[in-house]
């Protein structure tokens, strides 16, 4: 059974996303994850929260979202919940093709990063909310 470590309530502003990343690092330490897993966790959590702020809540700082951190055995489970627009990008794991040096994109790295960094990615739409659950171990 998962143990709640912390829940953050954040306004939809880009300058608060770093708080979620910092708490992610502390949660990794609490669970006993190593350095690489900790870096990957922070990367994925920051990406997910940035997506919420920019796309789901559209930088409306009157809106807020939550990030919940739970220990589940030797894994960290992070759940990010918001009441914004439908978070469709997580419905399917993105392609893992090598980047083409002659046709590099200047965006769209965020969702692939989340899938690459997290052990598991699960998304659902629930009662008008986006609920993204990320699992990290190692």
């Amino acid at each position: 059974m998962a143990t709640l470590l912390s829940t953050l309530h954040l306004p939809a502003r880009l300058d608060t996303v770093a708080f979620a990343g910092a708490l992610a690092r502390h949660a990794c330490e609490a669970v006993g994850l190593g350095d690489v897993a900790t870096m990957r966790t922070e990367i994925a959590v920051v990406e997910a929260c940035t997506n919420v702020v920019e796309h789901a809540l559209r930088l409306d700082e009157t809106c807020s979202y939550t990030a919940t951190f739970e220990a589940d055995g030797d894994a960290l489970v992070v759940t990010i919940r918001d009441a914004g627009a439908d978070g469709a990008p997580y419905a399917q794991a993105p392609s893992t093709d090598e980047p083409d040096p002659d046709a590099l994109a200047e965006g769209s790295y965020g969702v692939p990063l989340i899938f690459a960094a997290a052990r598991e990615v699960a998304f659902r739409r629930e009662d008008g909310h986006n609920v993204l659950t990320l699992r990290f171990d190692g």
Binding site: I43, V46, E47
Partner: protein
Amino acid sequence: MSSSAAPPVQLTSTPRGDVLVIRVDERRLDARVAVGFKSQVSAMVEGGALVVLDLSAVAFMDSSGLGALVGVLKQCGRRGDLALAGVTASVLELLKLTRMDRVFALHDSVDGAVAALGGEAA
């Protein structure tokens, strides 16, 4: 809706022969500053310039920062004209996760990056 303009990014440029070294004095290169970063660097870089980006002070970068680096890479004209120096562990991990560590020229030090681009020794 927030109407804040992009915050200015702390950048310091130093010419070393034909190479322009740009030190990024920001701990985080993320969505908050990525647009401003790219805009400011673009203003510093002439088309086809040889550029070393000193990222040794950048403890964390997200996908927006990566996108800005790609924008700088494209502005430099050719892949061999931009080098990243002093990439920290977390930034390197992000580059590895996106396989972009195979796209950017990475060097441990500014001196090494400048030498690789044919610039002047310090």
